[in-house]
């Protein structure tokens, strides 16, 4: 809808301060559709040339950027091959290049790694980081939550068209941290003392499990155990994964 493919039934929206229906604002926007299809009778370099021209690049700019972006997505060797001979992964790479060639300020990537092997995914992650470093904002739409967790700063959960939760993945991690500690002999009062930093403290078979809400508690807990002369063999904090958050949030939602 923001890109003008679907007509809204009501309301209004702005992109980069311009009305969503503005054609001109799309010079600053890049898009890789999920169901990506391109003219398969074009070669890889012709496709980038076409999309670059449509995005307003000059002939001089295209001369530099077409080979540069083919190189970026690892398709320099296939520059003169027609797209009809490309695999899904190769199409996804050229699709990414066409979304980026005009160096947009805002980039929408819809499932950009769904057809890629691990090397390809790594490449896409690097490209997204480069775009972020360039100052662009990247919207990554994905059901691969591990991918989102590695790549994104902020995650938004959408259900039935409505934002039901937002998580900042780096600057202020939310959710409980579960800690598993393998210890030698330990006095019950030492274990009880951990309650000042954590909840759900349990001891079973030389293994303490507890939960805390703050990363700052971790050194305090370790210091407390070492100060009580407890032998610590293993100390493993585990943050709630994005997938767990996803399941929790969807579970919390009354409409689910």
């Amino acid at each position: 809808m923001l890109l003008g493919l679907v007509q809204p039934t009501g309301g209004d929206a702005k992109i980069l301060g311009c009305p969503y229906s503005s054609v001109e604002v799309r010079r600053k926007v890049g898009f890789l559709p999920e169901d990506f299809r391109f003219y398969d009778w074009l070669t890889a370099s012709e496709l980038l040339d076409l999309h670059g021209r449509l995005s307003g690049l000059t002939a001089g700019e295209l001369k530099v950027r077409v080979p540069a972006y083919l190189e970026l997505v690892g398709l320099s060797a296939q520059r003169d091959l027609r797209l009809r001979g490309f695999s899904k992964g190769m199409l996804q790479r050229i699709g990414l290049a066409q979304a980026l060639i005009h160096e947009p300020e805002l980039i929408f990537l819809d499932e950009p790694t769904s057809g890629l092997d691990p090397m390809g995914r790594h490449l896409v992650r690097d490209i997204i980081r480069q775009q972020r470093a360039r100052g662009a904002t990247v919207f990554l739409n994905s059901h691969l939550l591990s991918e989102v967790e590695i790549t994104c700063d902020t995650v938004v959960f959408i259900k039935q068209g409505e934002v039901i939760a937002t998580r900042d993945l780096h600057s202020s991690p939310e959710g409980e941290i579960h800690i598993a500690i393998r210890v030698g002999p330990v006095a019950p009062e030492t274990v009880a003392g951990l309650s000042q930093w954590a909840s759900s403290v349990q001891l079973a078979h030389n293994r303490i499990t507890l939960s805390t809400k703050s990363m700052d508690a971790l050194p305090e807990i370790l210091r407390h155990l070492v100060g009580a002369h407890v032998d610590v063999y293993e100390f493993t904090p585990q943050r709630l994964s994005l997938e767990d958050s996803f399941l929790n949030i969807m579970g919390e939602d009354p409409s689910s």
Partner: protein, 278 residues
């Protein structure tokens, strides 16, 4: 405006790259070879025959030329519909349009650019094939139709009407449905044209009216009959009654109606494409 020409260029390039244009040209070349052979033997036989007066010989060769032009008209109509039937509906169905429509290009530029690309391709096709038949007539048979340029332009208008109708229905329906509708409408106009001609011979005004009504719904065939009429000789106009010639010719008003029809349908296609989800 630059965006419009980018789309026009890529549409023309697509026709050439996907071998659509070349295959159509090859079919036309095969037809021209066959037609040229026929014209050659007919001319030779007529020259050796002492029973046929020169005026009639000329008329026979001119009618044969009309047959050739009629065949070219049919080939141009089929090529117009078959090449363009998939361009809007197919790209919407396959989502190919997503990457294009999200670029800084207005919807009207996208549709009009494609339309211009096809219009250019059809112009090239008609120029070469129509010119080919006329060259065969001139160099082998020694005959030239009257108003050849006017006739070619009318055939071009006929194809543009069909192209525009195909674009319009392409913004509403799937490729197959679109093809069925457009060819169905042209078939309706074709039958209507025949009824009008028969009505003209049998002096049945109601039959003529049915024919005129069919031309109002789809003016394509009517334009061909006008083209056929302007390319006939005076003798041919008074004698002939065949699919290749015209007894009851649509008026200039009909041509003006067809041009208006084209513009209105193009405007409707642009409106529909502008407001539909892709």
């Amino acid at each position: 405006m630059n965006q419009l020409w980018i789309i026009t260029r890529v549409t023309f390039l697509e026709a050439a790259r996907r071998k659509i244009l070349w295959t159509a040209m090859l079919a036309a070349a095969a037809f021209l070879a066959l037609f040229g052979t026929g014209m050659h033997y007919q001319t030779k036989d007529l020259l050796t025959s002492r029973d046929i007066p020169p005026v009639l010989r000329y008329q026979i060769l001119l009618t044969m030329l009309q047959v050739g032009l009629y065949a070219i008209d049919m080939l141009a109509v089929v090529m117009t519909v078959l090449t363009s039937v998939d361009t809007i509906s197919g790209e919407i169905a396959s989502s190919t349009i997503h990457a294009m429509a999200t670029k800084p290009i207005a919807r009207w530029q996208l549709l009009l650019g494609k339309w211009l690309g096809f219009a250019a391709m059809i112009a090239a096709y008609i120029a070469l094939t129509f010119g080919g038949v006329i060259a065969v007539g001139y160099f082998i048979g020694g005959v030239v139709p009257h108003g050849a340029l006017q006739g070619a332009l009318l055939v071009y208008l006929e194809c543009l009407v069909l192209l525009t109708t195909t674009f319009f229905f392409g913004t509403w329906f799937s490729t197959l449905t679109n093809g069925v509708i457009v060819l169905g409408l042209h078939g309706l106009a074709f039958i209507g044209g025949w009824l009008e001609q028969i009505g003209s011979v049998t002096k049945s005004p109601r039959l003529v009216m049915v024919g005129i009504l069919s031309s109002v719904i789809m003016p394509s065939e009517g334009i061909w009959r006008r083209a056929s009429y302007v390319m006939q000789s005076a003798i041919g106009r008074s004698l002939d009654f065949s699919p290749f010639t015209t007894r009851s010719a649509p008026s200039v008003t009909m041509v003006a109606y067809a041009a208006t029809y084209l513009l209105v349908v193009l405007a409707l296609a642009l409106y529909r494409f502008q407001h539909r989800d892709l």
